[in-house]
Symmetry: C2
Subunit: 427 residues, 2 copies
């Protein structure tokens, strides 16, 4: 039990005695019990330049000039925060019992930038929690539960802030001033160019979201697409939209797991699904791609995913409340898809700052539609979702999160682009 | 002991009895003892479409229409080949006791393409060899021995076939018809653009060869370079050339190991050294880069190396005769440089076909200067070196070898290029 947890345990002791108050060392500010608790907490998270303001009006900080203010509404919130900061912060923020003065993104950036170099320290604190969090395994049924949790909460909700393409993955901004819709279409194009799709070819897509990329490939590159997804709501949306846009003869949207992809294809693509696959299934995913490409001497593909500089778990609040079972890999882990199958990795591009931009655009639309979101769900949901979007922006601007696009080819494929100039100059 | 080795053992038995001849199964061709031995050998290497012709005139193949002919001069050569094919083939070829009718590169390509999918099968045969090969560890002194073996055999020799730049690494051909010198200079430029070097910046270079990249960076990008190399001959050449070309005030060529790089720099670059580092030292190399960049928020670098689709040892003949201690990593292994230091990998480009082209250009120059090479060394050396060049071409054309350029940045560096368009469209 850590010193911090001992303190919490003693404070919640029915006897009411606060043994920690026996400590004789004076603290510069926040010398109350609550102050000492928050001091310790600030130390654990690397002493970010923030201050806490308690319900009593007391101000607590370890920094001479704090840049952000966190208001804590009551004693129960504080005790929860001390006991399980990584989960309780987000929950209390969602409930409105924690509020932030000023810019939420800047606040999370301060937190990320201060975080200790060795994430193991933070992890060991979290692992001390009794029981921990339910493991959300990506088995065939586990994946269905995990995907249902996030993606089936309503097409109407996502329509409020994803823009016209309904693409829920990092966009690609050819120039920083592109609009969200332009950047999402440019992303589709960037992916198609990287795979050098030609009319008449066939493409397998693993995890198609609301079908934006499938429809772009069919419309602009003349390919036939067989696309797999286990989100019921997304499949229904994509089928209806493809029919409306006259693309249904070129696209087969299959409601099934990527592990059940069958058939032979010229290319294999997956944008924004890998985060939900789990490292333990990467060799299986590679095998699915290998079988789909049939070992052909022209086979190639692309996998696009959030990633990390080095292996680290996703923030526990995100995996608990937002994305159960999610995990963004390091490139080393990413390679476990390809190496067992002798795939040749041709190109890895990291466009993390484009995801920050994408998320800023999403958040602008989300904020503009905040009242509708509250009506669809409630204020707690709206606050939870805003924290998730703000935290994600901060993750990408501070380099805690990366975005990798990996182009690969079958081992014997010598029909690979001579240089990457074709991505930037012409067809 | 394998069946093949038993056969060899019994044939060399002083009693002269050939127990294997008791086998009643008739073989289609090559039914002699030698024929059976070579049949087994062909099976082990995946039955490539080749035929052997013995000193007796006997022709042995497992293929209906072989595409290449291997001539074996005498019985001792055959027995050596059966016992340790991976080493003895190259040695006997060097000695002229094995010759190939027709194109040497095409022959090696046939061998690579036929090789069994699971390289483990081939490795286990090799591991049966008594004693195996001396492990050539890349300790500080081990590296000196290993590098001396290859790079100190004479600047005059390398001058015959490396072209004007003396770059002994994969070139970059903007178009396939570029000349070797153009492509080597384009490679220098590609590397500099990837690092976005600016006048007045400082660069640390690990393993500088004959100094071509250092001089290009100094001349065309106005940077100051501190470059490290442990090949005495190369250091002497680079110092003299930099002085002759008036670049010595901008470049410090240090004769020392990359592990002793000191100082703070804006960028860290290493082209063609990683092959000699050894996976066990990758975290150390990353630490050297991390220290050199000083955790600065503008730090970035590039490492260029031969690689693999998946972990596999280099051909044992190459590590024994050509490159002691060498090992080309998979991307997964490559990441062991970066992940411990939280480096952000921005870009990985695979240009393996450019290395095939580079090697073809080297081999043309080598062949044009064959007589000079024989005078400098002897015919055995000339044949050995030609096999190494031809085998390397085949390695890259068949996808057995890859060439990776990896661009990385310090974790907090947000001054990263918005897209990669600057590499293709102006500065």
């Amino acid at each position: 039990m850590s010193a911090l947890e001992k303190e919490v345990a003693s404070s919640t002791d029915e006897s009411g005695r606060r043994q920690s108050q026996r400590a004789a060392v004076p603290l510069p500010v926040g010398s109350s019990f609550e102050g000492k608790m928050l001091h310790r907490l600030l130390g654990v998270v690397g002493n970010p330049p923030i201050e806490f303001v308690l319900w009593t009006g007391e101000r607590i900080t370890t920094h001479p000039a704090p840049s952000a203010t966190v208001r804590i509404a009551d004693r129960a919130t504080l005790l929860g925060l001390a006991k399980d900061p990584h989960i309780r912060f987000g929950d209390a923020y969602s409930e409105g019992r924690i509020t932030i003065d000023g810019d939420l993104v800047k606040f999370v950036e301060l937190m990320y930038r201060a975080a200790p170099e060795q994430p193991r320290a933070v992890r060991s604190l979290s692992s001390l929690l009794k029981g921990g969090h339910r493991r959300q395994r990506n088995t065939l049924t586990g994946s269905r539960d995990n995907i249902h949790h996030h993606y089936d909460i309503g097409n109407d909700f996502y329509s409020l802030w994803l823009g016209d393409t309904m693409a829920y993955t990092c966009a690609y901004y050819p120039t920083p001033d592109a609009t969200l819709d332009e950047a999402q279409r440019a992303k589709f194009d960037h992916v198609c160019r990287k795979m050098r799709l030609r009319a008449g070819e066939t493409v397998a897509e693993a995890g198609f979201g609301w079908g934006g990329l499938s429809m772009h490939m069919a419309r602009h590159y003349g390919v036939k697409v067989r696309a797999f997804n286990i989100s019921k709501e997304q499949v229904a949306y994509a089928r209806a939209r493809a029919k409306r846009e006259g693309l249904d003869s070129q696209i087969e949207f299959v409601e099934d797991d990527y592990r059940n992809i069958s058939g032979k294809f010229d290319a294999f693509v997956s944008v924004g699904m890998l985060e939900h696959v789990g490292v333990e299934n990467y060799a299986t995913l590679g095998g699915v791609a290998h079988k789909a490409l049939g070992g052909g001497s022209n086979g190639r593909g692309l996998i696009h995913s959030i990633g990390r500089n080095r292996p680290a778990p996703l923030h526990p609040w995100i995996t608990k409340r937002i994305f159960p079972g999610a995990y963004p890999p390091s490139i080393g882990e990413f390679m476990r898809i390809f190496e067992p199958w002798d795939f040749s990795v041709l190109d890895v591009e990291n466009i993390r700052l484009h995801y920050a931009r994408t998320l800023i655009h999403w958040m602008e639309l989300f904020d503009a539609n905040a009242e509708k979101v509250r009506k669809m769900f409630d204020e707690k949901f709206e606050r939870m979702w805003r924290l998730y979007l703000a935290g994600s922006i901060a993750g990408f601007t501070t380099g805690s999160l990366q975005l990798f696009q990996v182009v690969f080819a079958t081992k014997d494929n010598n029909n690979v682009p001579w240089t990457r100039e074709h991505l930037y100059n012409g067809a």
